[in-house]
Symmetry: C3
Subunit: 304 residues, 3 copies
């Protein structure tokens, strides 16, 4: 889990993913020699801070978003949310502005819910603050801020080790309205004819999806994927004997929103480990669900 | 109205339109020999469960969505909405899961509004339930669930009989966030240069749009179409003497949302019969409004 | 400010921008001989009521929306909003229907907030009403309805006078859900390779953005632009010594929404003078902020 620990500690709030992008590019360069297949790497200004890895002749693309939630400094010590972080007075926040490194504390006004920071000086307007990373590992769990979606990124990078045919996509802005998947999806469809997607992201522990019971295959969230595609995935998961749970939600979304609404006929399915304490500094995931997540992606990339 | 009765009885909740898609494809194959023009049929995986029929040299495309509203089975007998169905305790719901056919009853918690089902056994997670179809016809009205949008589909199929030049599009996911019109519109524009659209869908009876007074031409809903296009349509409708009403709403939407927001310069107008008891099992439409709807589409496809 | 006064007085509610489109086209034809560079003019049905001017070899596109907020006449003297106008009983509204010119008064029901008009006769269904334009100029301010976004249009037209390389885009529907920028952006990217954008629009006076303190560079609103692009803009503005303010908001949007969500990798930044009395008939802007807005656009189009 050293890779996971490392990427949990690199802040990448939506719009400012570049530090994590650089880490992933460096990681791919350093490790690809040991992979079954060496990918073609698509990156650079035409892809903003996103990365696409093309392995062999891809039929399916795996989408893992790089960005995380956080806060932007406004005026008079006010904070504005990046995505939907949980906010509790006392949470430790970190960042950096023109005067140097920042480690401050979140303050939530009990009356109004207004957000501000407690620090010995004013912070530059527009500075991003993210949760301080306290990475905790036990025999059975990992716990940290930003497992959503560093675990999805970790899953994608581990998948690369044995992948023969497939596309692995690292996207931006997922936590804050999206903005990269439309052009990534267009490029994949028009260049490689790929229109099958798996969303490598983290979901919620609920009364129907329990920790330790296996990776969740989402039958729907706020959007509804095409039934026939999800049924194929379920049959492959069952035949392979990979532990998994079926999720049904009425809310929530992912990079799949942009696939669903884009101008290509993408089929998509969200498949991810469930976590508790969602969008807080204390997100926690059962290691068995991480294991089954990776196992299921390995099977699906072969058989879909 | 036998065709209408038949298609009202084929469940096609958003994301699972395939049974209705198959019916429409079969219907086209069986009936096109008797049509004025034989269309080119675009269907298959590149169009997911959608269908495009191309007649002659099309200038205008008619969009009719195949899907209907309903419910998805969650956990512990809970239900989640597909689209925006009206929910009342006692509504009859039908479906099918691994254990066979289902006919159960909707239950709405009076305190919380939470939805569940009453049935002698648990239903598989992710199963779609739809309204039981009680199709009722009088001399002056038709009444059923899913007139929205089986009437729009019916109108499109009847229009095919005499159509010389035009595109007829059967789309998916309209009731639940959309997801097919972006690529259908792209294909039509890039392949045929078509950028005029009519939305063959059903609207609401209101204080300004009355049953029996003719098909409604919508001047706006939550979105506003280009004025000059709507004015052309109004002039053609007036010159042709087809009974019609002008609708002005501040809310509501249709497949036109995806045309408006897509990457082609589509002009669009929603034209449809008004119904009462919207999104309930008892949707009712005046037959005169169905007649004027078809008549107006026939004129517009010739003259636009 | 005669140009500004003139265009404030041409109603162009979302969907019915054509009168302002015609004015801008005529203005460009009459004035381009005196400009540093003569642009290629893209307009006509393939662009609906939008206009693109291409100067030299463009690297950056300036987007100014033509449309304004207003009201649509519904039934029984009811009004429906176009965009988000402020509504107060007594506001003077103007329009034109089949019976001639209209000058009426807005009425807001104190209990329900419902909108209607007070006039000596019924107004045709679907008629657009806009604020009566009372253009007021002092030594230090301009005040009128629709400075948002006639000032953005004015800024774009003044920028044309000295522009050597760049694209100037006049868009539609910005105030009411958007609908033109997706295809304009696609055309610019695919034809000219442009993917840098500046949004020439008007923002709000707040506790952090004060009148007279310079044009606002927005670091974020409801969406978050790519950090690296905004940083480049800040450095150019600082180096050039153009008075400016940094804005940080959690809400609000602009034509940038469609750039962010479109299928090209656009970088964008909102740069505009702040106004008070937003979306009312009494929008007011400090002339110094107009001056610095134009100056900053001139520098940025050279240096970005």
């Amino acid at each position: 889990m050293e890779l996971l620990r490392t990427i949990c500690q690199i802040p990448a709030p939506s719009g400012h993913e570049a530090p994590l992008t650089e880490f992933v590019l460096r990681y791919v360069e350093e490790h690809q020699a040991g992979w079954t297949t060496q990918p073609t790497i698509l990156a650079g200004e035409e892809f903003q801070d996103c990365i696409i890895l093309i392995f062999g002749a891809p039929r399916t693309a795996v989408f893992a978003h790089l960005d995380n939630i956080g806060f932007t400094v406004r005026y008079n010590r006010q904070l504005v949310r990046i995505g939907g972080p949980v906010a509790e007075t006392g949470y430790r926040l970190v960042g950096r502005d023109s005067q140097g490194n920042i480690e401050c504390t979140l303050v939530v006004d009990e009356q109004t819910g207004a957000l501000s920071y407690d620090f010995h000086r004013d912070i530059d307007r527009g500075t991003e603050l993210t949760f301080y990373c306290d990475f905790r590992e036990t025999d059975t769990t990992v716990q940290s801020c930003y497992l959503d979606n560093r675990l999805g990124v970790w899953n994608a990078l581990r998948l690369c080790e044995t992948l023969e045919h497939g596309a692995v996509v690292f996207s931006c802005w997922e936590e804050h309205g999206g903005g990269s998947v439309a052009y990534l999806a267009k490029h994949l469809y028009e260049t490689y004819g790929v229109r099958q997607a798996l969303i490598s992201d983290i979901t919620w522990v609920t009364e129907g999806v329990r920790p330790g019971k296996g990776v969740a295959i989402s039958l729907r969230d706020s959007l509804i994927p095409r039934r026939s595609y999800v049924e194929r995935i379920r049959r492959i998961a069952e035949a392979a004997g990979v532990p998994h749970q079926l999720e049904v939600e009425g809310s929530g979304g992912s990079d799949a929103k942009e696939l669903q609404h884009g101008a290509q006929p993408w089929d998509w399915c969200f498949i991810g480990a469930p976590e508790d304490n969602v969008h807080s500094p204390d997100e926690i995931v059962d290691k068995r669900d991480i294991t089954s997540m990776l196992a299921l992606y390995q099977v699906l990339l072969r058989e879909l």
